[in-house]
Structures are given as structure tokens and as C-alpha cells.
Symmetry: C2
Subunit: 521 residues, 2 copies
Amino acid sequence: MPHPTAPLPDAVDLSHHLSLLSRSRKPSPLKDIIKYMYQKGMISFAGGLPHPSVFPFHNIAVSAFPADTVIDPAAPAPPAASVDYAIGRDMTPATAYSLAQGLQYMPSTGIQRLLDFQRALTERLWKPAYADWGVMGNSGSTAAWSMICQLLLERGDYILTESMIFSTSQAVFIPMGIKAVPIDSDGEGMRADALEEALANWDESKGRRPRLMYLVPVGQNPLGTTMQLERRKAIYDVAVKYDVIIVEDDPYTMLEFPEYKPGQPSTGPAENVDVDAFLARKSPSFLTIDYQGRVIRMDTFSKVLAPGSRLGWFTMNKMFCERMLRAAEVQTNGPSGFSQVIVGQLLEEWGLDGFLKWEVNMCEQYRVRRDWMLDAIYNEFDVVPAEETDVEGAIGQVVYPKGQAHTGPALMSFLPPVGGMFIWIKAYWRTHPKYAAFAEGRETPENDFEEVFWKTLIAHDVLLTPGWYHDPFQGDDVHAVEEAGAGHYRLSFSFEPKEVMDEGVRRMAKVFVDEWAPGTN
Amino acid sequence: MPHPTAPLPDAVDLSHHLSLLSRSRKPSPLKDIIKYMYQKGMISFAGGLPHPSVFPFHNIAVSAFPADTVIDPAAPAPPAASVDYAIGRDMTPATAYSLAQGLQYMPSTGIQRLLDFQRALTERLWKPAYADWGVMGNSGSTAAWSMICQLLLERGDYILTESMIFSTSQAVFIPMGIKAVPIDSDGEGMRADALEEALANWDESKGRRPRLMYLVPVGQNPLGTTMQLERRKAIYDVAVKYDVIIVEDDPYTMLEFPEYKPGQPSTGPAENVDVDAFLARKSPSFLTIDYQGRVIRMDTFSKVLAPGSRLGWFTMNKMFCERMLRAAEVQTNGPSGFSQVIVGQLLEEWGLDGFLKWEVNMCEQYRVRRDWMLDAIYNEFDVVPAEETDVEGAIGQVVYPKGQAHTGPALMSFLPPVGGMFIWIKAYWRTHPKYAAFAEGRETPENDFEEVFWKTLIAHDVLLTPGWYHDPFQGDDVHAVEEAGAGHYRLSFSFEPKEVMDEGVRRMAKVFVDEWAPGTN
């Protein structure tokens, strides 16, 4: 890494990573035309824009929450205070956006003013470690990831992933003929030593050594893990050594909570959030340590403003920006102008500091919800730190039937998440009284039992996401099993109210105890 | 074709057209989950939706033009009358859309209510000739065409195009390794006999016979041609015979004008539009004759509402709808919710009939602009119907220096367009006094002279789009020249006010006369 006081280096040349598709994109011939279009005195018959006088919308007035709004998750109701703004046809001193701009064709990067905000936010939060980085708007992270795969991958390639993966993310690359190389994860997500091992011992006969890594570093979906600075540095160093591009998909970046304290009832969200204190304890982006420009970061407004905005942005080296713009010109024509002017002006009203305050308040919202769900689990079961048990391979907390800590069967284990929206549980089939008989003669007894037990939970009116949804795809004939005699489920705490969470966990507890230790509750 | 009174047939099986990528897409595993999620009494921890109470927008109030607004293109100013509507957090009896719906994740097809409108509009306008068609929302036609190419094409394939093509449309497929097979066009666009010939004599050694055709049937960009019913039928029959999918990209569908009457000053837009009369004279969609389900139609709100909405829709057979949805789930996650609720509610306010009225008024707007530009050309030049001249291969009108009809050099020819936003002119280098000397020893003198003359026009402060921008790509080594001793330019009449158009055409006329017949004006 360069000396901290030295001027930042430019990105290294990574153009050999571009796919054939991306390398084949040509600069738009319109670039020449546009140069002449803005020449003084020019009359242009070259454009093909609809005339703005015929756009039927002439004013959009928005009412939104003030940036420092604290919503009560237990009794959510729109607060009385309101930030009101109107976007008119033409720019006025009151707004930074106009409908004339938002309703017309525009650069595929998005509106410059919004890019400026995204850039300032990135600079404030992450201070990228190289000089020539850029931001570029996109239509949300689903679209963004799909575009990255097209930018960098060829049929037959492999992607480095964490041990479990968001199902939609991998549904992008499976039909492209790409397979995952899942790397073992621990309580912080991907292990650097396991990554190094996979790359050092890559068998070239199966295909090119993986050149792309896909990570959700905060509140990983589904694992719920969050990666701290030292781990990120170790991962980054391996990426440099083996020339791997890191895709940092970070939708939950600001939903990074303090640790859960068992036995302390969850408080409501804090009235006075301290942004600086929040940022001081928060894990940094990979951008902060990326001195080579090999990180492509995906940010989105979906989790902290609204998924329906379909607005996100890339941060990446200028060369990737240019190639991605060529793709966007023919694949999206940029994000929705309605979304950009409405969200963009809200950010103007709030200001950068206001937006950060809002984000920290969002974090509090989901922190409270996490606490609700963990409280419910701690109430309905006996929960013991893994290191105090002899349960092999358990990380985080081990769960026993209520009143049977250490004495009863270990039902499951989980890591109390410090970010995101999910709790990932490992259920111990091997302690289930009927599992040994069930497993006999089966090829994939763990997966089969996961399905059966999932249906049992459903029969008791509680629905989880089964672990196999998140199994990284390694080919149609490969059934990954992470651990013998265990299965997984994902629990989301983002949506249900507290009472419903309590009741849902109660139902889960009843099913577990009825199955594992009938007659003991 | 089936008997007119018989029940409509279902689409024929066209699944052999799907690309490897499209065939490889799997149904989302979430489908099962969703089924259980809505089961009565179920508590779900399976979703991962942000909680709607934290979306910061609680009201969006829109002011728009009434559907019957007639805008004066000469003095555009927002009309006094206004349709006002507010979209609140929750659904109210006053609106068909809510923010709760528009701000959250949603099906990638778009919101059902908007799909219902698109379906009703399609049924009203085109009455597709088969039964199992569907509509599906997309993020505008650029995105839509890109998705179609991925749905149906493989590297090395060929696409049937008209003789000239919209540059952005082909910038999608060139980097995919696809080449165009340009089919000769006449005053109505693609010629059916030329199409049949190209397919009948296809040389399989260069690759698969083309299976996909890309057409802009109304106001073709750049040719300005519009295809009438008989031609469409003839093209469709060839497509059936050779098993070709027709992609009907129809952004200008409702901008289909009556013929231009030279010598009659253009009137302003009509106050009382007659939708039925308009539809009776308008060319139908290919859907109207598509009894096999082999047409993929692309509609967009870009030209008649606002490009920034990034909202369009496909109409196609159910099998294509299902495969396209699988792609949208991982490539877009659906169009912007802001766009959908704002545009969707406007359509509710206007109603289907109101929207049609608005569209016919839009047509009047561009009809007036077309007339402005043609009036200017007729004023600055002598314009003679091609059939009254001996200019070889000319269609439409032949243009001479003012006062030199038949006697002076034929400068150019063009077809007065009956749709869209463009006039396509063919300039006759062969009558230019210096062209013969210029051409000597050059490999592509037509293209070179097009470039030189384009720069001459620019030096006189008038900017056109040069013809080569629209040359269908047939491989890097192929320089298509449609006609010896001629070049092309595209003029757009969509944007500039009348006085600017007049001045621009005056500048053009001066350059033409100075070059071709110096000293005569």
C-alpha cells in the first residue's frame, strides 16, 4: 500500500478483465454530434428529442419525512413534521432539479447533480485509496449486478462467493453458464485463508482461475455476517495477489448495528443519533483499502429510501465506468427521471449530513427489529455462547429447549447479526431423535430433512427460507452440504411487527421441542 | 389466416427460437415461498422487504395537462387548466395507486393495474389475431430491445433490418457478435420481395438463416417511412414461411400523419380531434395480423408522455412473456415505481379514451412541426415530384435550386414523411461539379464526400445527422453504399421552433446552391 501522505495512485490497468462483449462495445457516434450541437450559433436538426412543451406533467409536489425523523417501529405512523418540495417544469432557485430535465432523455449515467451527491457521499464515507475513481447511476443493484456480470464474465467462468449466496444474485450468472466457487465463511463472512487456498490450488483444467469475487460484506444475505477491516484487508491482499476483481454489493452498508446484548430488553430507536460515532464504529468499504482500483462497489437507495425508486450507483475505476456507460447506453438509457428528480431533490432538502442522519436512524429501526427477534429467541429457548458448549463447529450461540441448556439436545446455533435484515440458523439434524433412521440410504439426507422440517414448520404456520435456496450453484450435479447432519434456515426480521415475531418464534420453539424433546415443554 | 368468426388460435410453439441464455433461466425458487406467504394464518420470516413505515415519502401531488389539451407549438406555454391528483401512502378511493405499492419491491412485470391499462389499450387499438398474448412492463424500448436480443440471439447470428437502422438499436447487437442483413426499403420501408429473396437465397455457410427481424414500421428512424397494411401482410407471410420472429419497435405509432400538402400553409393543431377517424386511417400493428404469435411488439410512453419515465411494455406470446419475466427478475426488478404510480394515475385520470385523445393531439403537434420543416424546404428550393423528373431511383420529391426546377442540378430527393420525427434526404453527389474529381482513386467516395459535405454544413452552422450513422452493421470490413454517387442525411423536425427551422433550411439551401450552382442565387 502507498504511504499515507503520498498522492493517491491511479488504478492499475485491469482492461484484461473485460469480457468480449464489453470489449466489443464502441463509443456512441453521437459523441461527435453532441460536440457540434452545443457550438455557439449552431442550428441542429440532428437530435431526435421530443419537444418538452408536450410533456404533460407540469408540477410534482412531494411531502416527505424530515431527515431527523425518528419512527417508532412499534407504532409506525407518519410523523406530523414534513419536508415539502415541488419540482416544476423549469429550474427555480428553490430546487436543484426540474421536470424539463427529469422528463427528457438524459445521459445514461444519470443526472449530474445526483452523481455529484453520490460522489460526495462516497468521498465522505469511504475515501477511496486511489485517485481516478468515478460514480455512475444505475437502476438498482439487481440491474447493476447483471451489468457487472456482462462486463466481466464469459460462459464457463467461475465466481468466488461466500459459503451461501443471495438467490437472485446467483440467478443472474447461472444461465450465463457461470458456476460459483463457494469459499468457507466464518462469523465475519468469507475466510481469507480459505480464499487463498482455493486460488493457489486452482485446477486450470476446469476453466480459468476465478477473476471475480462477489461479496455482501455487511449483513450478508443470508448469513447475516459483517466483515471488519482486518478481514477486508486480508481478502484484498489475496485479490491483489491473484488479480481478482472484488464486487462489493453493499445494500445494508448503513444498517450495521452494535452487538446484541442478551438479557437487556431492546430500547426504542435513539432520538439523538451521533453520525460521527456511528461512522467511527462502522466497518469501512473495500474502497477505503483499494489502492489498485479493483473494487466495484454497488450502492442502492432501496434499503434506506425505497426499493421502488430503482436507483443505485456504481463506484469503480474510470475505465470500468467508461465501459459500463457504453453498456448502459444500449441497455437502460439511465434510471427513471421521475425517481432521480424526486429522490435527488429530497437529498438536496436533507443535505448530505441530513441523509447520513436519516441512514443512522434507519439503522436504529432495524437494530430494534433485530433485538425484537433475538429477544424472542432468547425468551423461547435457552441460548448459550458456543464457546461454553461442546457443540462441534458452532459459532455464535447454541440453542437448547427452554430450561435444558447443556442438558437437552442442541437444537440449532446462530450468530446474532450486527448488520442487515437476516438471522441464519444452523439446525442440528444429528441430534434429532429420528434423523439417523431418516438418513439411512439417502444421498442427500441433510437437504431432504431440511425440506421435511421446513414443511413441518409451515404446517404450524411459520414460514422460513430454507437453506438450499442460498446454496451457491456449482453445477447441476453438485449438491453442496456444508456440514454433515445439519441444515439451515434464514429468518428475516425486517418486516413483521414485534407481537407477530414473538408469536412466530413461539411456534418455531414448539415445533423444535415437539420434534427433538417431546413432552418436555 | 383463420376464418374471421372462428375463435382465435393460440400461438404456435416458437420455443426453438429461445437463446441458450434464455432457455437456461430457471423459475425463481421464491415462487413456492410466495404461495405459502399468503396462506391464511401464516407468520412469515421468509421475505426480505424493508418495512414500508420507513419509506420517507408520504405524498406525491401531480399537476398535469388535461387529456384534451391542445398545445400551440408556436407559442408553447403550460395551459391554465390542470388535472391534479395526489398519490398517498395508502390506497384511497380517489386513486388506483399508492406509494406503499410504488415504493416497495414489486413484480418485475410492473404493477398489475398499469398492465391492465396496457392490455386494454392493445386490445382496443390492435385486436391481436391470436388468443394467448400477454403484456409485460419494461423500462423503455432501449432496455426492451436489449432484452429481446438476449432472449433470442446467439453470437454469430444475423438480424433482418430495414436498409437503414436507428444507431442505438444496432449498438445493442453489434458487440453481441450479431450482424445485420439489410433488406432494401422503398417508400413504405422494408420490401417483402427483397425479404423473400434474401431468405430464399441464404448462404448457410455464413451462419444460421436469420430468425429475427427488427422493424420500426411507423416513421422509421432514420428513413421516415411508414408501412401500410398490405405491406405488413406481405412481410408477415414471408416471416411465417421462413419462421422469422418480427420485432415491431413502434415508438412513433400514434405519430402517423395525413399526407403533406405542398403549397398549403400549415395550420395549427386541430382543437377537436376525432380519435375514431384517426384510427380508421392509421396503419395497424403487426399484432392485428399475427395469427401465430410471432410478433414481439414494443410500445413506449417516451414519445407521447415523457422519455424520462423509462416506461414501456412488450406485447407477445405467453411463452415469451414467461421467459422474459425470468430475465427481468434478475436484470431490472421491474420499472421504477415512481414512474409507474405517477404515469399510471395520470392514465386513470384521463381514462383510455382521454389517453387516445392526448395521443392524437401529440400527433397533431408533430404533424405541424413536419409541415414547418417541409414548408421551409419548399420555400427555399424548387421541389418536384420524382415521377415528373428523370432522376434515376428517386422516390418522393426531387429538390432543385430555387427557380431551377428540371433545369438546374438535382440536389437531393426525399420522401415527405407521414409519421415520426425525421426526414431522410438523399443528396446527389453525382451532380456536384467537384465530385467526379473528388471520387477518383477513393474506395468509398460516397461516404467520404458525405463526411466532407457534413463538415461544410457545420461550418455554416447547420447540423444534420450523417447517413453512415444509420448504416446497418454487416461486419467491420463492409462499407455499405446504398447508391452510387449519393449520400444521406437525417433531419429531425421534433425540436426546433419554426423560425429556427426556417433559418436552418435557409442555411442548408445556401450551402447547396453555393456548392452545386455557385452564383445562381
